[in-house]
Symmetry: C2
Subunit: 409 residues, 2 copies
Amino acid sequence: MNANVGSGTQPRTADSLEGRMLRRLLRGLGNPPIEFHLLWSGERVAATATGPLEHLRIADRRTLLGLLYDAQVRFGDAYTSGQIEVEGDLVKFMVALFRVFAPHAPESIASRIVGWCRRSRRNTLAGSRDNIHRHYDIGNEFYALWLGDTMAYTCAYYPSARATLDQAQTAKMDHVCRKLRLGAADSVVEAGCGWGGLALHMAGRYGAKVRAFNISREQLEFARRRAREQGLEHRVEFVEDDYRNISGSCDVFASVGMLEHVGPEHYPELGRVMRAALRANGRGLIHSIGRNRPGTLHPWIERRIFPGAYAPSLGEMMQIFEPCGFSVLDVENLRLHYAQTLRHWLERYEAKTEQVSAMFDEEFVRMWRLYLAGSIAAFETGTLQLFQVLVTPQNNNDLPLTREYIYPR
Amino acid sequence: MNANVGSGTQPRTADSLEGRMLRRLLRGLGNPPIEFHLLWSGERVAATATGPLEHLRIADRRTLLGLLYDAQVRFGDAYTSGQIEVEGDLVKFMVALFRVFAPHAPESIASRIVGWCRRSRRNTLAGSRDNIHRHYDIGNEFYALWLGDTMAYTCAYYPSARATLDQAQTAKMDHVCRKLRLGAADSVVEAGCGWGGLALHMAGRYGAKVRAFNISREQLEFARRRAREQGLEHRVEFVEDDYRNISGSCDVFASVGMLEHVGPEHYPELGRVMRAALRANGRGLIHSIGRNRPGTLHPWIERRIFPGAYAPSLGEMMQIFEPCGFSVLDVENLRLHYAQTLRHWLERYEAKTEQVSAMFDEEFVRMWRLYLAGSIAAFETGTLQLFQVLVTPQNNNDLPLTREYIYPR
């Protein structure tokens, strides 16, 4: 472990059995522009000799065999431990990898059933608390290193490609508030409030009264401190509880970046909670990572980074709204905004890896680098989407005629 | 038949068996604000005495029993024949009716299976041709009486509530073209082109090259004549063929108001046709009547007005896009625009009923009046929706960052 890979020996033609097998495999995968450097033998293996290549160094035969056995999980683990190393730009490499492998990895029915069983066991009240704790409670100081001032850990909204991360996160909050036609008379329920940025923005900028739910204690402590600092404790209540326990009524129901942790088997339940909370002319918005068709999250991400997480297709998201009397007003796909957000996060992260290494260790640094770079690639290649879905109770006619109100002049 | 209902006799308390049964039924339905006038006995029956009432006159006992037996179909037929008459405003009455009955009419699994079997038999290549012929080939002169100059027979887009019908239909075409980022270099395939308004607009206003498909011969004759009149025959080709036979490639695939006639069992097929036609950076738009949850069309409408038609939920629409490599970029619900469009159509229709009666007969006049008024009520009460769904092939990154381009300053 942590055996970082040195420079390879002189390149020579591949002729070993493993080299020939690897080349055949790469041809079967459509000649990805990737060259493998097998450091123990000095071989360089690529399916194609034309065009620019991304380069992957593999430390030992055991790592190669692991990749051949279960590339999806072993790649991430071997990168984390340093048994494989990417030469040059990691994001470019991951984009090349996704372009090749994403279309070749349709999900089998069996793996889907297994996935569903695991999730339904996991996202119970107790399971969710554990899953959320494992990702979000690893330290506010860690996230503060690279998330920017807003501490928003969800897709930002870039009015122009030149916007900074903080500008784009603030623009995202305003974009959400405008879609919801938020006003000072409105009461809001937020399900899954992160470090409280949106709740405080809704109260501070729009004068709304917000109850914001979260089951991450670390995040709530941070959010409550910010509320006191900004003098907003009387207008924002941060509640340590699960979305399933939300009660009372509201004009606006917002959930930005929580659905990924709900699990599709709980979507109708989330819909019932939303419907029970929203008044007749209320507005609801769910912002979530999604997919173009149903499928599980990348298994390495689900195992090492986001336990219990699932990114739904738009059709699957409709299981929140269709069974219980909602009308979908508007869906927007912000996929390219998430690629840009992640680029900003990775850039800031890379500038702070010394501190990250001191907080955790070098393997953690590499694991999170891969997660961020791989996520850029996933959104860049259309493997993942970002859906914002705006809904209202089905009988509500108190609606603007057009969406121009979202785009003020 | 055609026995128009005269004024009722003096009101008196209901005391007959049928009167008591009717009142009990109305109470069970949540006290709808409707009073029944039973003309053969002079009884007036309402569940509630408070608040303003809509009034329904029923000519004879047989009609009442028919309503109790199968209200959904018999109501329309009895209105058509004149056995029942609505006092005062028909739209107001229909809105009251939908408010009461829509939530009480969940579709049984059995009726859904029956509906699906009927549709799958019907929307074959030959079945579609027959279904389309029955509605759209009843005479261009008839539709020209009330559709306005654009001859668009789909939901318009009202930039403001004061827009005229023709303004709103033109605005709809521009709204669609802007969403699709249509330019002079683009080739377009339109599936289901009606009287050719959008195809001619795309060619005439945007300079695009359009192939527009339709299986209604009457509509195509009209469209080809308009193309000649506007000097656009070299840029718009009107093809008499089914959407399933579309071949060749295009930059833009548009279908406005055809999906209602496709049938959900053919959605994956439509998706494959779209995907095969669209180039890698192409854009597709489907504009369709929809619903908040799956369910069949109102049985009277399906039987008498639109044979073989079906309005999908958004989740069902995803069966077009999810199986075959599309990414959904944008969904807009224009429900209230369709209520307004239909109000304009009904107003024009009512001004031309003498001509309609001369073309057909008085029963036809009443049947179409009920269809238009009922449709206003369906959109007004949220029983029906109107979805515009914008998609692109999943790997296309040639996308505008925000939707501001749809809303020019």
